[in-house]
Symmetry: C2
Subunit: 354 residues, 2 copies
């Protein structure tokens, strides 16, 4: 049996973890959740040569050096990096990967590079469950068992179990980020999972569905790679041709419309680390409920999340705050308000230069 | 009538305003309360050539460059700086100044260099009231009219008004930093003022009282200046001889024991800026009760004091915090807890080096 090709999406440049995550050095290249970067953790997730082939990375040209740095050493000698000439969201990025993977019955495990999975064993078991269905042509998503009525994720309603594949269920439908009420209803109802944006599927099946539901996208991706050496370490699609490609997510462009879309529910300590609050949730608190990374002196301080690089944070008598700092910016928020990072970043952008 | 010699005490190296104030760059050399440093504000307070002679500064050798920088330009051409070979508290420092001032009936206005006086007019009027008594040989202190039952200051109980000098009262006694109850009792009782550590007195009278009540100190100061050119810009007392001098404050060594000690009560917007809370109190709040100095972006933030140098502070949704930062340290405290700075500084000193 041929090995699975890990396809690692590194196109994000989120500022939800500002000031540590920036467009120049986005979240996946930071060691926020473990001793190494989330990018390195993602690579390590598909490091088992008995299951996985060399990885295919898709990221931005401006992050090429960061990706190369992560892929140093013998272990990733055969890794390839597709440098997107422009950002076109996930559907076109995965199309490039599918074409570079071989455009045949090769199975791809598509993973964002900036998620945390604490229980690798459970995750690998889910991939194993999904594999027969993927070989048969199903586009398999991984559904995270909800732990609360989150409104920040898309949901998937799960249908019947596939006869030929225990643990794999048909997808009934994709549900966009819900209201609080709707999220609670789905949680009560069961049979709904969070959409983690992780997929196991054959390259040819993906391209087939893409051609059916977003043919311009499929054509543009093919054209952009026409004549490009797909065996090279750095794969550079044609910028002009790729610029013609519409921009859309794999969920909207393909998954919601495709035939034979399945889901494997999994509970694997997953987090998209989409905010400082989310990161605080998955960090290990000390005896006072503080989660601290970096140089800090905290006196009589409780329930605070402190993450700092290149400067020292000191505090006394504070509680339930998020304090993030690097050598240029300090950010302070009450816990539970980390969505306000956006407002701060916006305000910094628009204020008059001093 | 000869002019008053301003004697400016710059020996402090307080860490109560850490992290901005440090031993290398103490509070008086920071622009915390106005556009210029408190040292410069103190110099400017005695800048009126019709009343004041050139100033005499007393500070530490290691701050010589900082003091020289403040005394640049023609205006302070005749200023002299006494460089203390070692720190011996205020009584010996003022003894050196009295000897350098002439050790005769020259009147000195002794002022700490790190206090704020908002109402210069009221202060100068108080000096004018005090002057006749000082000429007659009284050691005159300035008593700040209490605005609350502060426990961080010494108090002075005021007695009868001097017959020959309206506005000048006899000092009945000095009272050390009181308990809260005692402070409230004094406030209710009236006739008590805060001891601001500002004095108007003849150099010879100070030395006379010092010789009477702390003769070793007086002798050591004289010996340390023996043969030293008192007309030089930089006056360097003999280190070995000065090292023999006991260390004590003017209050303990002289004022509490001397004859003819008087007080002029004054309400002049005085603050010793002894803490971040004190500084927040005298700063001008914006429409949300925030007092901000330096680069900060505050969203939905109320009642915070933010003071920052060399880095940007951002926050959303916080209230009633003190946030102080420079390029190496950030400090966060609830308002009202700025005495905890000491604990933080201590903790930083004693923690294992990383």
């Amino acid at each position: 049996m041929t090995q699975i090709v890990p396809v690692i999406l590194s196109g994000g440049s989120g500022t939800r973890l500002w000031p540590l995550s920036t467009d120049e050095n986005p979240k996946q290249f930071l060691a926020l959740a473990s001793e190494r970067t989330m990018f390195a953790d993602t690579l390590a997730r598909a490091d088992d040569a008995s299951r996985f082939a060399a990885p295919l990375i898709i990221g931005a040209e401006r992050h090429a050096a960061l990706m190369e740095a992560e892929l140093g050493g013998d272990a990733y000698r055969y890794a390839r990096i597709i440098l997107e000439p422009s950002a076109r969201n996930t559907a076109p990025a995965i199309a490039l990967a599918a074409l570079a993977a071989g455009a045949d019955d090769t199975v791809m495990l598509v993973m964002p590079s900036d998620h945390v999975i604490r229980d690798l064993h459970a995750f690998v078991a889910a991939v194993d469950s999904a594999l027969p269905a993927a070989h048969e042509g199903w586009l398999v998503t991984f559904g995270i068992e909800p732990t609360g009525p989150e409104t920040g994720f898309g949901y998937i309603r799960m249908g019947n179990t596939l006869e030929q594949a225990p643990g794999v269920r048909k997808v009934e439908r994709f549900i966009e980020k819900p209201s609080r009420d709707k999220a609670e209803a789905m949680l009560a109802q069961g049979s709904h999972a969070w959409n983690a944006g992780i997929f196991l599927m054959r390259a040819d099946r993906y391209l087939e569905e893409l051609a059916r539901h977003a043919s311009e996208m499929e054509k543009a991706a093919r054209a952009a790679l026409d004549g490009v050496d797909l065996g090279a370490r750095l794969i550079r699609p044609d910028g002009e041709r790729f610029a013609a490609c519409p921009s859309d997510s794999i969920d909207y462009a393909v998954m919601e419309r495709a035939d034979r879309v399945a889901i494997v529910p999994v509970s694997c300590g997953w987090s998209d680390v989409g905010s400082w609050d989310a990161l605080a949730e998955i960090a290990s608190p000390d005896g006072h409920g503080n989660t601290v990374a970096g140089d800090a002196v905290l006196i009589d301080t409780r329930g605070c999340h402190v993450q700092v690089d290149g400067i020292t944070i000191t505090a006394a008598g504070i509680k339930d705050l998020i304090v993030i700092a690097n050598g240029s910016h300090v950010m302070i928020l009450p816990r539970g308000r980390s969505q306000d990072v956006k407002k701060i970043v916006e305000s910094l952008k628009t204020r008059p230069r001093s």
